[in-house]
């Protein structure tokens, strides 16, 4: 049976790793209203791809690096206070995307599969890719566990946290860099265009039944895992693109959660 072929099993494993980090990170993306920031990171990823190819560096590392630099730049521009955050994101998302596309046009002789970056190519996950994805996921989870409580406090109310001696800037910056890493890791699975969906959809679905922040994060992991498993299985079965299939399953789960929660009330 094709579902138990090696490459499909690797896809499942990589997808589960991404769902596991996507849950907690996605919750904070929702709580901090950073969905558009996630999109900006995804757009900038194309610049990371171009730079990685030009410097013959590993592509996920280049994507994460570009994202982290952008996160720092955005933080300081936002502190200036003249330009609103959504305007800044609108500027940088597209400036980075344009730069990436122009840079890619300069790379001769290398034919890159743009579609794979835009929509993900989970079924082409190699042994090495899987190891990198798992390492990235573990790293993000470890940092997240360490900063969980202060980041939550800063997210609920930054001023109270500051008064209590918890500096918001440090944790906000750390979280943005984590998003950059997650985007770099998750792009191979769902692609640039859909990566934010994997952060926002599971968290939003989990919100319907959660009573605690941790409960919501755990719920988001479960929803993400369901989406990945269902999406990959569907993609193999019906020969549909993987990324969109995964997102569709997540969307279906979200709709079900909303409907069930509404009925309960």
């Amino acid at each position: 049976m094709i579902l138990f072929e090696d490459f499909v099993l690797r896809a499942f494993a990589a997808g589960l790793a991404v769902a596991t980090v996507g849950g907690p990170i996605g919750c904070f993306v929702v709580w901090r209203r950073m969905a558009y920031f996630g999109d900006t990171m995804a757009h900038a990823a194309l610049l990371g791809v171009a730079l990685g190819l030009l410097a013959s560096a590993p592509i996920p590392a280049a994507i994460a690096l570009v994202g982290a630099v952008l996160a720092v730049a955005l933080t300081f521009l936002r502190r200036r206070g003249r330009t609103r955050t959504d305007t800044l994101l609108g500027i940088f998302a597209h400036a980075a995307l344009a730069t990436g596309l122009v840079a890619l046009s300069f790379i001769e002789g290398v034919r890159i599969d743009l579609m794979a970056y835009l929509f993900g190519d989970i079924l082409a996950v190699s042994q090495g890719d899987l190891a990198r994805i798992a390492t990235g996921a573990l790293l993000v989870l470890a940092v997240m566990a360490r900063i969980w409580r202060p980041l939550l406090s800063v997210t609920v109310n930054a001023e109270i946290a500051t008064a209590e001696g918890v500096p918001p800037l440090r944790y906000e910056l750390a979280f943005m860099i984590l998003i950059a890493v997650v985007v770099a890791v998750a792009i191979q699975i769902v692609g640039i265009l859909l990566v934010t969906a994997m952060l926002v959809l599971p968290a939003a679905a989990a919100r319907e039944f959660a009573r605690t922040p941790e409960g919501m994060a755990a719920g988001a992991v479960v929803v993400g895992a369901l989406a990945v498993a269902g999406g990959i299985a569907g993609s193999v079965q019906f020969d549909t693109p993987v990324g969109p299939s995964v997102v569709l399953v997540a969307f279906a789960v979200f709709l079900l959660a909303v409907a069930a929660a509404s009925l309960k009330r």
Binding site: W31, V156, I160, A161, T162, A163, R211, T212, M216
Partner: protein
């Protein structure tokens, strides 16, 4: 002897070319309740934030006692409905908060029954109590309250101010509070600072009531406030006569 907790000297805050605070001096000592009053846009919240270190003054200095533990209740806090959080868990977010600290703070605010309620479902008065509980959790040496009776109904206001006095007595902490309930605050505060971009007057409530600048700021409102004030049951017997004289001088 009471020690100085925080001293602000010549604090000036300029935003986009407009001075929000102009050369403001302020001091809060151990065990003392200082109330900042003044018109809207007079810089009350900005001064509180400068004292807290939430914003850096354009010029002037704020000196806090070394390792000063501060508790803060902000002016506006609307819990996000997208973040599931019980009142108890909200308290536990304070650094170093243990479970028994949360219980004690909830008990002190008479808010035990709210412990398992979602933060976003609390009423204005309930939320204010939970915010106060969070501020008290770490046994603060200085409590900073920005309009602590916001969203609290009339009967509850007086109760809340009495609660703040009780807290000060029990914790022996300094309190710096912003309020525009001028007359209610008079009975519970040790010192009043009238702020309208700069400090127009300051001193004990009994002194301040006769100050020209104070009357200029609040005299014309005294009559209206007296109307509101009459609904309160209270025990500050000299208020009515002072307010009457304030009215007289203002007219």
């Amino acid at each position: 002897m009471s020690e100085t907790l925080v001293t602000a000297r010549g604090v000036t805050v300029v935003r986009d070319g407009r001075a929000i605070l102009d050369n403001v001096d302020l001091e809060v000592r151990d065990g003392e309740i200082v109330t900042i009053i003044g018109p809207n846009g007079g810089g009350k919240t900005t001064l509180l934030k400068a004292v807290l270190g939430l914003l850096a003054p354009t010029s002037g200095s704020v000196e806090r006692r070394r390792n000063l533990r501060m508790g803060y209740v902000p002016q506006r806090f609307v819990p996000d409905r997208g973040l599931p959080l019980t009142a108890r868990r909200f308290l536990a977010l304070a650094p170093g908060a243990r479970s028994e600290d949360c219980d004690r703070a909830l008990h002190e605010m008479g808010a035990e029954s709210l412990a398992d309620a979602q933060l976003a479902t609390l009423s204005g008065g309930e939320l204010q109590r939970i915010l106060l509980a969070r501020a008290l959790l770490r046994k603060p040496e200085l409590l900073l309250l920005d309009e602590p009776t916001q969203g609290v109904d009339l009967g509850g206001e007086q109760d809340l101010y009495e609660l703040i006095t009780t807290v000060r007595d029990r914790h022996a902490c300094g309190v710096l509070m912003v309020s525009h309930h001028v007359h209610v605050v008079m009975g519970t505060t040790d010192r009043v600072v009238c702020l309208n971009r700069y400090v127009t007057c300051s001193g004990r409530p009994t002194e301040i009531r006769r100050d020209r600048e104070y009357l200029k700021l609040f005299g014309e409102n005294a009559a209206a406030l007296l109307g509101v004030y009459a609904h309160h049951h209270h025990d500050h017997h000299d208020d009515a006569s002072v307010e009457a004289s304030a009215r007289q001088e203002a007219s």
